[in-house]
């Protein structure tokens, strides 16, 4: 065991080792970052064309999976007069540390249109809101997972377009992440073991460096839900429609803007700030999902659309495709 406790690394003095360790960390992080970005099989593919009629539901799903689809369906139902943000506050017991806080609920309107006009997926949300509920409850309930089951076809279509990270590449990326972690944690842990074995306890910097490097490695190199192609497509969609956000906010009657639903799907509820729907924006802005259902952080930050134009995703969002209005009307059908 002599070689284990006395070698080039074990005998290195503290400050020297920290410089060496820092260099190893930088090289490892750079190599892992480069590998995860450049070995993505979609990185050489051009993103799909931006559709002339973007499908808001498919965009929302690409951007934030079922949670974004739920938000969009609720917003669509509010837009069409089925639901409203209630004025009678209810207790939101779903949020950690804020149990019992009074919030404005989402509830049915008194004179809502005939729900038979709704698509199956919309009807599911409408039924779930038979009693007023806090927005936070949406993400704590079984509703998102039930919605996800209806979005299988959308998921499949996005995967076919190589917008989602393929499972085999996820595995490769995970291996890269594990290899990086082994180098960083292994080297630091080994030196820590040697130092403690020799009775030295000035290991604070070593531990901090190892922890920070591991955190950075995890944040930058963990496989994202969207492939490189998907991320680029999402960026392009947001870039293409960015200007419409301010136009909608400035519009005399943004409620009549047919593009509003697509913008919510593309950028999230924040686009509703300052419009007639700002109460909905505030309600959902506060209700951030706490589960992992948002997928990767990177994908949530941006947005998306679909190269396959409207109508298609409605069939999948709607499950059996019944009552799908198509296009920006989404799963409406009325």
């Amino acid at each position: 065991m002599e070689w284990f406790t006395h070698n080039f690394i074990a005998d290195m003095h503290g400050p020297q080792f920290l410089v060496f360790y820092g260099s190893v960390i930088i090289v490892t992080l750079a190599a892992c970052w480069w590998a995860t970005r450049n070995y993505d099989p979609t990185s050489s593919l051009p993103p799909p064309q931006i559709p002339a009629e973007p499908d808001p539901y498919e965009i929302a799903y690409l951007r934030g999976e079922e949670n974004e689809v739920v938000r969009l369906i609720i917003f669509s139902l509010i837009q069409r007069g089925y639901l409203q943000v209630g004025t009678q506050h209810v207790r939101d017991g779903t949020r950690e540390g804020q149990a019992g806080q009074l919030v404005q609920p989402i509830e049915r309107t008194q004179n809502h249109p005939d729900p038979r006009h709704l698509s199956p997926i919309e009807l599911m949300v409408f039924d779930w809101l038979a009693t007023p509920r806090a927005a936070g409850e949406v993400f704590q309930s079984e509703l998102p997972s039930r919605i996800k089951a209806h979005c299988a076809a959308v998921e499949q279509r996005l995967a076919t377009q190589q917008l989602l990270t393929p499972p085999e590449w996820k595995q490769t990326a995970q291996l890269i992440l594990i290899a990086g972690a082994l180098i960083i944690v292994g080297l630091g842990g080994y030196k820590l073991f040697i130092a403690l074995g020799e009775g030295r306890h000035n290991v604070g910097f070593l531990i901090i460096m190892g922890l920070i490097a591991s955190f950075i490695l995890f944040k930058t190199c963990r496989p994202s839900r969207l492939s490189r192609r998907g991320q680029l497509y999402l960026e392009r969609l947001q870039q293409a429609f960015e200007k419409l956000k301010s136009q909608t906010a400035k519009a005399a009657d943004p409620t009549a803007d047919p593009m509003l639903l697509t913008l919510v799907g593309l950028f999230g509820v924040s686009v509703l700030a300052g419009t007639a729907y700002s109460s909905y924006q505030q309600t959902f802005q506060r209700a951030t999902p706490t589960s992992g259902a948002w997928g990767s952080g990177s994908s949530c930050g941006s947005s998306c659309g679909s190269s396959s134009s409207s109508g298609s995703s409605c069939g999948s969002c709607g499950g059996d495709g019944g009552g799908c209005g198509g296009g920006c009307g989404g799963c409406g059908g009325d």
């Binding site: 051009p46 993103p47 064309q49 931006i50 002339a52 009629e53 960026e235 392009r236 870039q239 293409a240 429609f241 960015e242 200007k243 419409l244 136009q247 593009m259």
Partner: protein
């Protein structure tokens, strides 16, 4: 201009505020003209914008500041940047103005008319030859508006344009609004003017409307296209197979639906004369 050029249809001079509507109305815009100067030495956002546009539209770069009429020659740095951009975009043609924007090393900030002399024609041809050493992609030249007649003219405007196009062997980007504006401000018949132009060299048209200011028609690109310009466009399209028509709106931007109506009017003129299906 012996290179066969593709027919592009009816397009729009790209301006940033149109971006979102442009993608939602892509079927109504056959191609885009981009202001080349906006993408020279551009920040990353403009680079991304250019990539986005190039992935969805045929782009025609339109340069503003090459100053082809400058007797002192071209700004080599500007020319290199412009050539790099045009090669990257790889358009079927690109365009510049028959004008100068720089004199004595000073950028004068607008398109100034050239004296209509044989010497000015020589200067233009020399500068265009210099451009061609950097770029093989066909260059077409645009007629500009002018408020003041330059003294010492040896030929009239139509003769000057014809001479330049023939000597430089370039296509013409005929701005029918400029033609109409000059005819109004300088009191000549635009139809007679057209009759004296080598219309077979017309590749592309520009159209838009301007506004009146103290009895002078200003080419402000701020108004809907007036009937007189539509009439001139109709006459040109009837007589020559133009390859592309661009609506060039810059000021007082209306809703995209209004722009689309104008594009459709232009497309209808092309269809009427069998220039577009």
């Amino acid at each position: 201009m012996t290179i066969p050029l593709p027919t592009l249809g009816v397009g729009l001079g790209f301006r940033e505020p149109f971006l979102g509507d442009l993608f939602l109305n892509r079927r109504q815009v056959d191609f885009l003209e981009i202001t080349a100067d906006h993408y020279l030495d551009a920040p990353p956002e403009k680079e991304k914008e250019l990539k986005l546009l190039a992935a969805h539209f045929t782009l025609i770069p339109h340069a503003l500041n090459l100053s082809l009429g400058s007797a002192e020659g071209l700004d080599e740095n500007y020319l290199r940047q412009l050539a790099a951009l045009i090669k990257r975009v790889n358009p079927p043609w690109w365009s510049e103005h028959i004008a100068f924007t720089r004199a004595g090393g000073v950028d004068i900030g607008h398109l100034a008319p050239l004296p209509r002399t044989h010497e000015a024609v020589e200067v233009l041809c020399r500068n265009i030859a210099a451009v061609r050493r950097h770029l093989e992609i066909p260059l077409i030249l645009e007629n500009i508006t002018y408020v003041v007649e330059m003294p010492g003219a040896e030929m009239n405007e139509a003769e000057f344009l014809a001479e330049v196009l023939q000597r430089a062997d370039c296509g013409l980007l005929l701005d029918v609004t400029n033609l109409y504006t000059n005819s109004v401000n300088h009191g000549y018949d635009p139809h007679e003017f057209l009759a004296r132009l080598p219309l077979e060299r017309v590749v592309q048209l520009h159209f838009v409307g301007g506004h009146w200011h103290h009895d002078v028609l200003i080419d402000s690109h701020s108004q809907p296209t007036p009937p007189e310009v539509w009439e001139l466009m109709n006459e040109v399209v009837a007589r020559t197979p133009v390859k592309g028509v661009i609506l060039e709106r810059d000021e007082g931007l209306p809703s995209f639906a209004e722009l689309a109506k104008e594009l459709e009017c232009a497309r209808e003129i092309l269809r009427r004369h069998g220039r577009w299906t």
